[in-house]
């Protein structure tokens, strides 16, 4: 067995307690702890991976639980706006694709929750944080999906922006997170392609259909840019996150990358980016763009977006309505276990 295996969380808690106990009985000085931290940072700088049972600064553990769980929550809540269209998809082909995509997002959430649990936090605690509103998820999922074209725009733009965010994380320092991201990134590319295909079909259709596609782009463009996070000037955790490889490029760099790759795709579709200031800059080789409405972003983050309440109501509702199924499965398992024991005796 290699030591990268996550193990029971009780054992893990005990482990952490015993570690701090050892630290105390050996009367570790602040200097010794600083040494441990230095060794730890040096390992990351050498591109070594950190595995769940390795010693780590408490701040590293907490930051990872926060980032990975936010990421997991985003995958889970992200299923809701698209789930809305599964039963309304215009053809069997589209329905099968959308269903598979939404199922993938559930999978992404599960990979990430289980990576999170290797750090000694329980699934229940994580759900509780989401359901009580203590934990955040990506603000983009608080916008409504009002037409079929939104399924195209979400796949193309939202999954597109997510890929840009996620690819650098395949090399992040925490082993379980990096491994989850490798799997996620492999699966994302079909999400974006199926979205673009929906847009392409609409753009080649009737004027009304093309209008629908343009309308979806108009509504999703700015929230997609915001999805890559606040501007560098306002981003608080960046420096530490860079060191731990939780972040490899700044939000503004990622945003520019997204814009530069997406504008030519919009041209290909014959759609107009809803930004009168968008212009190719010969000097930088990149697109200049207009000002982002950060007020709107912070409003949505704080819970005042168009669908924040609905998303949480649906999520909590699904969890609560499923309680009897979970209980029944557990009761069934316990009964079987008891039967097996009886036979053995």
């Amino acid at each position: 067995m290699n030591n990268s295996l996550p193990f029971g969380r009780d054992a893990q808690r005990a482990e952490r307690v015993s570690l701090s106990f050892n630290l105390k009985t050996n009367t570790m000085s602040d200097e010794q702890i600083r040494n441990l931290e230095e060794i730890f940072e040096a390992r990351i700088a050498r591109d070594e991976k950190i595995e769940p049972k390795d010693w780590m600064p408490e701040k590293y553990r907490k930051t990872h639980i926060r980032q990975m769980s936010q990421h997991a929550h985003s995958e889970i809540v992200g299923m809701l706006p698209e789930g809305n269209w599964i039963s309304r998809a215009p053809s069997l082909r589209r329905k099968a694709a959308l269903l598979a995509k939404v199922q993938d997002e559930a999978g992404h959430g599960l990979y990430l929750y289980s990576a999170c649990e290797t750090l000694g936090v329980s699934r229940d605690e994580l759900y509780e944080q989401l359901h009580s509103g203590k934990a955040k998820y990506s603000s983009i999922f608080n916008y409504p999906t009002v037409s079929w074209a939104d399924m195209g725009a979400v796949g193309w733009l939202v999954d597109g922006a997510a890929i840009i965010n996620q690819v650098p994380l395949c090399n992040t320092s925490f082993g379980p997170y990096a491994r989850a991201m490798v799997r996620v990134c492999k699966e994302e590319s079909f999400h974006q392609r199926q979205g673009f295909e929906i847009m392409l079909k609409l753009c080649n259709g009737s004027p009304e259909q093309k209008e629908m596609a343009q309308d979806a782009l108009n509504r999703w463009w700015w929230p997609s840019l915001m999805m890559l996070g606040p501007t560098d000037a306002e981003s608080i955790h960046t420096e530490q996150s860079m060191k731990w490889k939780l972040k490899r490029k700044s939000n503004d760099d990622l945003r520019q990358q997204f814009i530069d790759q997406t504008v030519p795709q919009a041209d290909l579709l014959g759609l107009t980016i809803p930004d009168p200031d968008m212009k190719f800059n010969e000097e930088t080789g990149s697109y200049d763009f207009g000002e982002i409405n950060w007020d709107e972003f912070w409003q949505v983050v704080k819970g005042h977006g168009p669908c924040n309440k609905k998303r949480m109501k649906d999520r909590v509702g699904a969890w609560e309505e499923g309680a009897w199924v979970r209980d029944a499965a557990m009761a069934h398992a316990e009964k079987n276990e008891a039967k097996k024991l009886k036979k053995a005796i």
Binding site: M1, N3, S4, L5, P6, F7, G8, R9, D10, A11, E15, L19, E51, K53, D54, W55, A100, Q103, D104, G107, L110, Y111, S114, A115, E117, S122, R123, D124, R179, A180, E187, A323, R326, D327, A329, M330, H332, A333, N336, E337
Partner: protein, 94 residues
């Protein structure tokens, strides 16, 4: 009073001829359900031909803090490697 589903570690053999590899973990009420869930969570794109599930609490793992005692003794045993032995160049294929 509801009880939480326990955690299971999932091992998948991607094709015959390869060993089972650790893929991740998931929650399930029992082993049978863990297998079915593992199929959906970890092999949606034919990533496997065989799955093992083990309840996480049944795994005993070594402690990285003891890596010194555990693994260092192997480091000074160079005589376990073929390059330790001096042979004349004329000896071929050995």
């Amino acid at each position: 009073m509801s009880k939480n589903w326990p955690l299971w570690e999932i091992f998948v053999r991607s094709k015959n001829g390869l060993e089972h590899r650790h893929f991740g973990s998931l929650h399930a009420a029992d082993a049978e359900m863990a297998l079915v869930n593992a199929r959906d969570v970890y092999t949606r794109r034919s990533e496997g031909v065989s799955i093992w599930v083990v309840e996480s609490k049944d795994i005993t793992a070594s402690n990285p803090e003891h890596n010194g005692e555990l693994f260092e003794p192997a480091q000074d045993k160079v005589y376990r490697h073929p390059t330790f032995y001096d042979l004349p160049d004329e000896v071929k294929h050995m």
